[in-house]
């Protein structure tokens, strides 16, 4: 059992410092923190970057990178004597095929594109970052209620995937009886196909920090955490620099804000908000049961506001120009949205467009299709695949959900007719099998069953597994604890549904 006063939240950084899951390290960290040794070892074994530490090359095996020849790249590297580890999507799909070198720094192609700045954008990736903190000043003038009212008027939906109205959560935290509250920024961006938060943190870190500070002000939080994907070394540096510059403004305007950057260590599931809280607390990143929701009982049991990077980055513009203005930026749903696009298009990148544009409009921004498009994945691995016949769908939360898919965080991937959809589904199923936290059986076992079903088909032309895909998917959806398991069959199911010819 944990000793009283044990420094649990330090164990992950200490594990990293001492070299990850190597013999003797858990004992040393136990000595330094008072957390039981076995517990620490179990934590180390959960996180890819701790369980498989070491200076080797990590090559992305995500969908876009595999389409761009990551498989070949791994072979070439191995042949030249380099130690290679295939890893889950690195969030660099615009620069596919991507890899990290032995210091976890990015090795990839030329930087992806962004949309040109225009006035009908809330975030303006291409503009110079604004470190004046004038929106925060304005928020302080207006007071929390007015700020939250503007969010509501603006109709801001969470950009992390679920599309939950932001003002509800802000209000819920603000109205808790408990006065110790936290704000947590979800910067763990790891859904395959997504890299918008990365671009925001690299190009406009102040926008996000200002949004975070407004959130802390509005909810009465004195401490904020930014949970950044461990593979995003550049983002961390960018945030640290910006935080330094932001400090005097925060001190001046809201009497200071303690901000802590916590790094991820290679676990997609830590993007799920409660798994993320577990990770900050120094545990295996296994999602909690909900209810209770974090707004009521979050970090260390205290009310906690968790928002995605992009959600917060929309806030300064809403405060500055009003909710109505923001709402009007959208077409079918409120606001402008960062769409990531990769795969078979000419200029992969991040494009800020009215919420609800169609695929064709987005691809036009991205320089057009490469080859003849056959399928697209509208919102990451979790959204499955759609056929081109659905290209007219507005890319928004409601319409995509209705189509049995989801917008997620708008990481679109276009697949042209050179791609076998069974193969594409397999890449996504591998992702889910690798990234399941393993806590609950429907997902832990089901994700492997689905992967093996598509394996048996591709490798042995056997249909035995395919026959059960839908029933297993039903159980995963009903029985899983969190969203990962609920949607983890979608790539295979949707590929089988819309691209039958690749399964006969």
């Amino acid at each position: 059992m944990e000793k009283k006063g044990a420094k649990r939240s330090r164990i992950i950084e200490l594990l990293e410092e001492h070299g990850g899951m190597r013999p003797g390290v858990a004992r040393e960290v136990a000595r330094e923190t008072g957390v039981p040794e076995a517990d620490i070892f179990g934590v180390a074994s959960f996180y890819t970057l701790l369980a498989r530490p070491g200076a080797h090359t990590r090559v992305c095996q995500g969908l876009t990178c595999m389409m761009a020849g990551a498989g070949r790249r791994m072979e070439e590297l191995r042949e030249s004597g380099v130690e290679v580890e295939p890893v889950s999507c690195l969030g660099q799909c615009d620069r596919a095929p991507a890899a990290l070198d032995d210091k976890l720094e990015l090795v990839a192609g030329p930087r992806g594109a962004i949309s040109p700045v225009s006035d009908d954008q809330a975030m303006k990736l291409g503009a110079e970052d604004d470190a004046s903190y004038s929106a925060l000043a304005r928020a302080v003038e207006q007071g929390p209620e007015r700020v939250i009212a503007e969010l509501k008027a603006g109709g801001l939906q969470g950009r992390g995937g679920a599309g939950f109205p932001a003002h509800f959560k802000w209000d819920a935290v603000r109205n808790q009886a408990e006065t110790t509250r936290y704000v947590v920024v979800n910067a763990d961006e790891a859904e395959p196909g997504n890299f918008k938060d990365r671009e925001l943190m690299l190009r406009r870190p102040h926008l996000m920090i200002e949004g975070m500070a407004i959130a802390a002000f509005a909810t009465g939080a004195k401490t904020a955490f930014i949970y950044v994907r461990g593979e995003f070394k550049g983002c961390r540096r960018s945030l640290e620099r910006a935080l330094e510059a932001a400090k005097p403004h925060l001190d001046r305007l809201i009497g200071g804000l303690e901000v802590r950057i916590v790094e991820g260590h290679g676990a997609y599931i830590c993007g799920e908000e409660t798994a993320l809280l577990e990770a900050i607390e120094g545990r295996r990143g296994m999602p909690r049961l909900k209810p209770p929701y974090p707004t009521e009982s979050g970090l260390w049991g205290k009310p906690t506001l968790i928002n995605n990077v992009e959600t917060l980055a929309c806030v300064p513009a809403i405060v500055d120009r009003g909710g109505e203005w923001f709402r009007a930026l959208g077409r079918t749903e409120p606001g402008s949205k960062l769409y990531c696009i990769s795969g078979h298009v000419n200029k992969p990148g991040v494009y800020e467009l009215p919420l609800g544009v169609t695929l064709d409009e987005l691809v036009e921004e991205a320089g057009g299709y490469l080859g003849t498009p056959r399928a697209f994945s509208p919102g990451g691995a979790s959204s499955g695949f759609l056929p081109m016949s659905q290209r007219e769908l507005p890319l928004d939360f409601g319409a995509l959900a209705k189509a049995g898919s989801m917008m997620g965080s708008a990481g679109l991937v276009v697949l042209n007719d050179t791609i076998n959809m069974a193969e594409a589904a397999r890449w996504q199923q591998i992702f889910f099998e690798d990234e399941s936290c393993g806590q609950c059986a429907p997902c832990r076992i089901g994700a492997r069953v689905q992967r093996q079903a598509v394996d048996r088909w591709i490798d042995g032309k056997s249909r035995v597994g395919l026959a059960h895909v839908n029933e297993v998917a039903w159980e995963m959806n009903e029985g899983s604890i969190c969203g990962l398991g609920m949607v983890a069959s979608l790539p295979l199911q949707s590929a089988m549904k819309y691209f039958e010819e690749d399964f006969t």
Binding site: R27, A38, A51, V449, H468
Partner: protein, 394 residues
């Protein structure tokens, strides 16, 4: 955990499968169901530890909840309507059990392997059935060789319910084991995957007691059926833990050390000592467990001695009759009357020559309370000295 609170104002009423039930505030749906006698299957639940809601076996429908919810964690509330017998719940149970089965070590009949006592997974499959017939998933779990004498762990018979880990932490406060790995490879491990002997483990065997499938099991009891259970009190210390001795007929050891005693037949049904080695088979204690949690003072728990130290019962060096050392310096079998007379003679001799306080009486914590009482009475009343002690009395 399961107690119903009597005062009317603290009760709340809910409905399960159309029947009303009253429970105390804070009770879970599972507790309420038990109150009604409604069976909800569980794997990861044990009253001794905090519920985790991770095995998903106990999911039920709750009015107003979009998703199925775990009965083991979901709190009952006034007017709540719970349904446990819908087709949705039944289909979920079958689908989940199919997955567990595909991930489990099966016996030659295609059933989850049995370790003799805890067969919850097999039982649930018998009761609720399975859905799709899935091929084995062969999950890539790490296994660990462990030379400890008592506890065996079989990763392929484990449903990763985490009860063993939570028990070790929350009840034993030892934290010797942990969930290890991630995803399909998640299993139970120790720090640096060392033997339990090189960890904080106290070999209490509680992880075995809570394990729903026998993945954690008593090494000495592997493949031993239990034919009969004999309740007794552990006499290793003064706590008074209740033990259930599992008795089974086993092949009798052969060899020169066999002794034959006339009055103990091979067919005798109670637990017998080494002198019973007369025929091919004999009854032996093959496993010790605790009675169900909540029913006895030890609440389902035991320590290493109570659970594992029973070999002495049948040990061939065990004394089964009095021995007196003769003039030749060797020990010779004697009758109880002769032996007691010899002891009395010796003790009186000391008392006469040096006084009563030259004597000291030490009894064993292996004796019963009554025997210990008699020992001090012998010391004080019969010999007149307060020099008496018991090895566990410190």
């Amino acid at each position: 955990m399961n107690t119903k609170i009597e005062t009317a104002e603290t009760k709340l009423e809910l409905e399960i499968d159309g029947e009303q039930v009253e429970v105390r505030p804070g009770a879970t749906v599972l507790e309420a169901a038990r109150e009604l006698g409604v069976e909800i299957p569980v794997l990861c639940h044990d009253d001794r530890v905090d519920p985790a809601g991770c095995c998903r076996m106990c999911l039920v429908e709750i009015e107003g909840q979009r998703r199925l919810q775990p009965a083991c964690t979901f709190k009952a509330s006034p007017g709540m309507e719970v349904k446990t017998k819908t087709e949705r719940v039944a289909r979920h149970r079958r689908g989940l059990l199919s997955l567990y089965k595909a991930d489990h070590r099966l016996d030659e009949r295609g059933r989850p392997v049995s370790r003799g006592v805890h067969d919850k997974l097999a039982d649930h499959i018998d009761t609720y059935g399975t859905g799709p017939e899935l091929p084995p998933v062969n999950a890539p779990r790490a296994s660990r060789s462990d030379e400890n004498p008592y506890i065996q762990f079989d990763p392929d018979a484990c449903v990763v319910c985490g009860l063993c880990v939570r028990y070790c932490d929350e009840v034993e406060a030892v934290s010797a084991i942990t969930l290890f790995g991630r995803g399909a490879s998640t299993t139970i491990g120790t720090a640096d995957q060392r033997s339990l002997l090189d960890t904080s483990c106290e070999l209490c065997g509680g992880c075995i007691a809570v394990c729903p499938t026998g993945a954690m099991t008593e090494k000495p009891s592997l493949d031993q059926p239990s034919e009969q259970i004999v309740r007794t009190t552990c006499n290793f210390c003064g706590v008074g833990c209740q033990l259930d001795l599992h008795v089974a007929t086993v092949a009798a050891p052969k060899g020169p050390s066999q002794t034959v005693s006339q009055d103990l037949g091979a067919e005798r049904s109670e637990v017998v000592g080494p002198q019973a080695r007369v025929s091919e088979t004999m009854k032996r204690v093959v496993r010790v467990t605790s009675p169900e949690p909540g029913t006895t003072v030890n609440d389902g728990n035991l320590c290493v001695k109570g659970r594992f130290s029973y070999e002495f019962i049948h040990h061939e060096e065990r004394l089964t009759e009095p021995l007196i050392r003769g003039e030749d310096g060797e020990l010779h079998p004697a009758s109880w009357a002769d032996a007691i007379a010899r002891v009395a003679e010796g003790l009186h001799g000391v008392k006469q020559r040096y006084g009563a306080d030259a004597l000291g009486f030490v009894s064993s914590s292996r004796c019963t309370g009554e025997e210990n009482y008699l020992m001090q009475k012998l010391s004080r009343a019969a010999f007149g000295t307060n020099n008496c002690h018991q090895c566990a009395a410190t």
